[in-house]
């Protein structure tokens, strides 16, 4: 056949993401063992999902509530927060890769300005995931904000009026009216955030290539590396199925939550 068949496109990529600890990923090793026991994926789960998903949901709600008010300028702020949505992932990676640069990045400049020590961010295994998380939040929290905004606008103002007449303060109105009525949106946003967290790839590929010390090695990068760099299609396809199962679990949980409400 064509020359392509013996030379999958991935090989000629300008960069090769490096596998964690060289040959640790072997097709002989059962995939389940790799995926569930691998400390890297455990790390990923803890350090990517929790720090990203929680702020993504909380911040999405916070931004929506802030910008749902009838104040001058909210439309402009919404536009600014939404703008990163249309920025492609390579650009996000290039931009934030520099912002997080140890020597010349803006983040460290402002950190030192307020008296903190500069952080090696993308070169430090402890800080690489938080850096990716911040990047991801900046890039995609707007989706959550929009869903929450739509849900907030569906809440009848009469409910708030009535509660105010009955003497409920802003805090009580939030806990007893806003939050319960936001539950479907909350379920949707949480599920989407977690699912998209599992699917993170581009940021990690451009900014850290999975490093340092595999601290940002994500499951989609495993698929990319295994299938299109090492040409082991079997394990890669199996990893895809695992990703599907994870996604399904969260999708079904979300649907159940929506129905229960």
């Amino acid at each position: 056949m064509s020359s392509v068949s013996s030379q999958p496109a991935g090989r000629s990529k300008a960069r090769r993401a490096s596998a964690p600890e060289g040959g640790a990923v072997r097709s002989g090793m059962t995939l389940a063992a790799y995926l569930f026991l691998s400390p890297y994926l455990a790390l990923f789960t803890v350090f990517m999902l929790l720090p990203t998903a929680l702020p993504m949901v909380a911040l999405g709600l916070g931004l929506a509530m802030l910008l749902d008010q009838k104040l001058m300028g909210t439309a402009l702020v919404r536009t600014v927060v939404f703008l990163p949505y249309v920025v492609m992932v390579s650009t996000v990676g290039i931009l934030w890769g520099w912002l997080f640069d140890k020597g010349t990045g803006l983040v460290n400049y402002y950190l030192t300005m307020i008296g903190l020590d500069p952080i090696a961010w993308l070169k430090d295994p402890h800080w690489s995931m938080p850096a990716l998380a911040i990047t991801t939040i900046w890039w995609t929290v707007n989706t959550n904000m929009i869903i929450f905004l739509a849900a907030l606008q569906d809440i009848s103002e009469d409910l708030h009026d009535a509660a105010t007449l009955d003497g409920a303060g802003p805090g009580q109105r939030f806990v007893y009216i806003t939050l319960p009525l936001l539950r479907p949106a909350m379920a949707l946003v949480t599920a989407l955030t977690i699912i998209n967290g599992w699917r993170v790839f581009g940021q990690a590929y451009v900014m850290t290539q999975g490093g340092p010390e595999a601290s940002t090695f994500v499951i989609v990068q495993y698929i990319y590396l295994t299938a299109f760099q090492n040409f082991e299609m079997g394990p890669a396809a199996a990893a895809g199925v695992v990703l599907l199962l994870i996604t399904l679990v969260f999708s079904l949980a979300q649907m159940k939550l929506m129905k229960a409400i």
Partner: protein, 284 residues
């Protein structure tokens, strides 16, 4: 108190001031990276790494843009992205509208099953499909072609889902009357249904184009030459190689060029984006 909504954060002056302070902080945090990208792209070499960093270049210059287009196949990548985006959008509109019409407006055995299957693909993480898709295209020698970047993307459950909802909202009497007057099913679809649902078609078109423009993972796999490489993949090669350091002004210029079309799109058509996300919760 005439404005209940503003009372949610406290209608007091203090509450409102706090809201404004937060809004300024949010604008700064989300706007600064974009502004930094723009500012750096027009800085001369001597100012890029100036300490302290400057937000207004002393001597603005376009030399980074010149270097970008001279040294890298930016125009080719840009052209590829535009071709792929336009073909994908046209194909998606055709496939999705034709799929949504019977699903939304006809009764036939198996309709619910087909609908279920189509919408279930919504839940699939598309990374799952890349290995079989690659193997399939490869066996026909179609990898590294415009075909591999456009046709597989056109069967898009998001578009079918959104258009089904728009099509269902058109009254049945309209279709009955049109057919009574001798209009064919396709005539109704083409001359009445599509013009009536333009906002839905526009939303699908915009999302499809932006998603295609920004799509990274599949073109990364499916292209291996500058002849077919799209912008996101091309840009990623600019930061390649650990030792190679490219001038930040050139990188930022590349980012500006890559972002400009979708940013203009977005600023002009913001409400379509908001509607699409609110309806389906997708990330492009």
């Amino acid at each position: 108190m005439q404005d209940q909504r503003s009372s949610r954060a406290g209608q007091s002056l203090g509450g409102r001031s706090l809201a404004y302070v937060l809004m300024i902080v949010v604008t700064a945090l989300w706007g600064a990276p974009i502004l930094w990208m723009l500012v750096t792209s027009i800085k001369p070499e001597s100012e890029i790494y100036a300490y302290p960093p400057t937000w207004i270049p002393d001597v603005p210059t376009l030399e980074a843009y010149g270097a970008l287009f001279q040294r890298f196949p930016m125009l080719t990548w840009f052209r590829n992205s535009a071709i792929v985006g336009i073909i994908t959008t046209v194909l998606t509109l055709a496939v999705d509208a034709l799929a949504a019409y019977p699903l939304a407006r006809m009764q036939f055995p198996g309709r619910r099953i087909i609908m279920g299957v189509v919408f279930a693909t919504f839940l699939l993480p598309y990374e799952l499909l890349f290995v079989p898709l690659f193997l399939g295209l490869n066996s026909y020698g179609l990898v590294d072609s415009i075909f591999s970047l456009t046709v597989p993307a056109s069967a898009n459950a998001f578009g079918v889902f959104l258009l089904t909802q728009f099509f269902q909202a058109v009254p049945r009497e309209l279709e009955d009357a049109a057919i009574m007057d001798g209009c064919s099913r396709f005539g109704f679809f083409w001359r009445i249904l599509l013009p009536l649902t333009k906002p839905g078609l526009a939303t699908v078109a915009i999302f499809t184009f932006v998603a295609s423009w920004n799509n990274f993972f599949w073109p990364l796999i499916a292209t291996n030459s500058d002849e077919t490489r799209t912008l996101p993949v091309g840009l990623a090669t600019l930061v390649g190689g650990a030792g190679m350091s490219m001038k930040q002004s050139v990188l930022m210029a590349s980012s500006v060029v890559a972002t400009l079309p979708t940013a203009i799109f977005f600023l002009a058509l913001q409400r379509h984006f908001v509607r699409g996300i609110a309806a389906t919760g997708i990330k492009g």
